[in-house]
Point group: C2
């Protein structure tokens, strides 16, 4: 399945891209479009991009912490992710567990049908962070460097719209000024990075569908307040543009949800910048061609 | 929640281990026991273990391919994973998607309730492999080197029983003799690896709860046929032993399910060896102490 409402020609472009990347040893396919594996060669570039991001972060990180691919359901509910994006969320269901049958010595036996478990698939990483500071008054800015496997139940599967993918994400929590300036600094650093990588990006203001269909007023307001910028570049021939990364101000929304305060008692503010690792490598392949040996140095 | 049926003392041991590893900067916790994050320091050791495994593999791999954290449901059903292990499987449920509301320009709208999606969380990695060879007559042995994020809905959460974790897995598919000898070679290579790492492992025959509680006959048969060996070592003080890795013969079971044949028309045989990366690093911390700077060289 390609992009809904697309023309036959667009479907063929996607299919050709996937066939080309498979033939040149970059990705593997599954029976589900949008669900791919990434070869050793692809992974070698992921590692290089990770190292460049580590060097770029101003907090002096020595590299990311690795987070689980699932998040406690309570944390996603508290952060209100599911309200604006219900259709993207993968909910984990499982069988209820009975106490061990220790006589048989074979672990737990299932009881009954599948039911909603206590976790959902991580749609992005920063929801892992806020619970750690919930109810805390912070005395100084907090910076985080995260990596992990995410999942979004995407409706379309044009190349680049991966269902299961990795994000590298940086988060800052502090005063309104700090969160704002840190985010704007990452817009500059992001542009530097993509220039250095030889990937021509367009930096675009964007809206999340935060408010459901039809609420034009709130989307217009989000644009006016410049909350979200995306780094957009093609990842296949004819791609109108895929977001490789985004730099976002949450203002006090998430800190409010998790009761994170500044020393004086005001709500803290947060910002995050997320890099889609598979999309960045895909943009590099699109920019420099499928022959890795012909690429310029990325460092 | 600790191991079901455990004593208070055992619960305290687990809690102390987690507190110690958090304090010494190795792991982070969530509100759900058994769901952890792994710090930059932890990740640096994961990378070293990965490199040692790459060097150990006899197929000449240059490193693993990275696989999705979810697997097509049809492939898990065809491989019959869910029959013996229904209680461990995380099933992904999602909202059905409506066609884009292109006028509103906000992507897809949800329709109705959560329903079973086309994917499940990967409980292990080798189920990613068989569909690629389904219906194929193979002319020569096939070898695979995989890494990825897995999930098991574990009933207990003693330290080491991670719900979300990474596996490095090698798979061989070929004649019965090849699959058998390759697996036995990995038992030797695994012992060499753990010796070199300074982790005292016990290599134990094991049974999967493949046949449900109470079917002692089939478990005894599995033992007699030596299908499964585990590398077992403590990952916390007082740990009776945690499986860090396993080396398994599937005989023709999985190749039969996926109709993978040898050139002559007989069913191919398969074996796999899986290394639990977070468990191996945990065993290293248990063996060498929490101060990484005091560890011996791992290479």
């Amino acid at each position: 399945m390609g992009r809904l409402g697309e023309t036959d020609e667009e479907t063929m472009t996607d299919t050709r891209q996937l066939e080309s990347l498979t033939a040149s040893g970059w990705v593997g396919t599954t029976s589900i479009p949008g669900l791919l594996s990434f070869t050793t060669k692809f992974e070698s570039v992921v590692q290089q991009v990770q190292a460049l991001l580590t060097a770029l972060d101003p907090s002096g990180t020595s590299g990311p912490s690795w987070y689980a691919s699932v998040i406690p359901r309570d944390d996603i509910v508290r952060g209100e992710y599911a309200a604006p994006f219900p259709q993207l969320l993968g909910s984990v269901h499982s069988m209820r567990q009975a106490p061990n049958d220790s006589e048989a010595g074979v672990g737990s036996a299932p009881v009954g049908e599948l039911e909603e478990s206590d976790v959902v698939l991580a749609p992005t990483l920063c929801y892992h962070i806020y619970p750690h500071l919930a109810g805390v008054r912070i005395e100084e800015p907090h910076y985080f460097d995260l990596a992990g496997q995410c999942y979004r139940h995407e409706a379309t599967s044009e190349y680049g719209r991966f269902r299961s993918f990795r994000i590298r994400e940086f988060v800052a929590i502090g005063t309104p000024e700090l969160a704002h300036e840190w985010r704007d600094g990452w817009i500059e650093r992001g542009e530097q990075l993509f220039n250095r990588l030889g990937v021509k990006v367009s930096v675009q203001q964007a809206t999340d569908p935060f408010f459901g269909p039809g609420d034009r007023f709130k989307r217009a307001s989000q644009l006016q307040r410049s909350l979200k910028y995306e780094f957009v570049a093609p990842v296949y021939d004819g791609d109108p543009g895929t977001a490789l990364a985004s730099a976002n101000r949450h203002n006090d929304h998430l800190c409010g949800r998790f009761a994170i305060q500044l020393a004086g008692g005001d709500r803290a503010h947060s910002s995050c910048v997320g890099f889609g690792l598979e999309r960045i490598v895909s943009a590099l392949i699109q920019a420099h061609g499928p022959a890795l040996e012909n690429w310029p140095e990325l460092a």
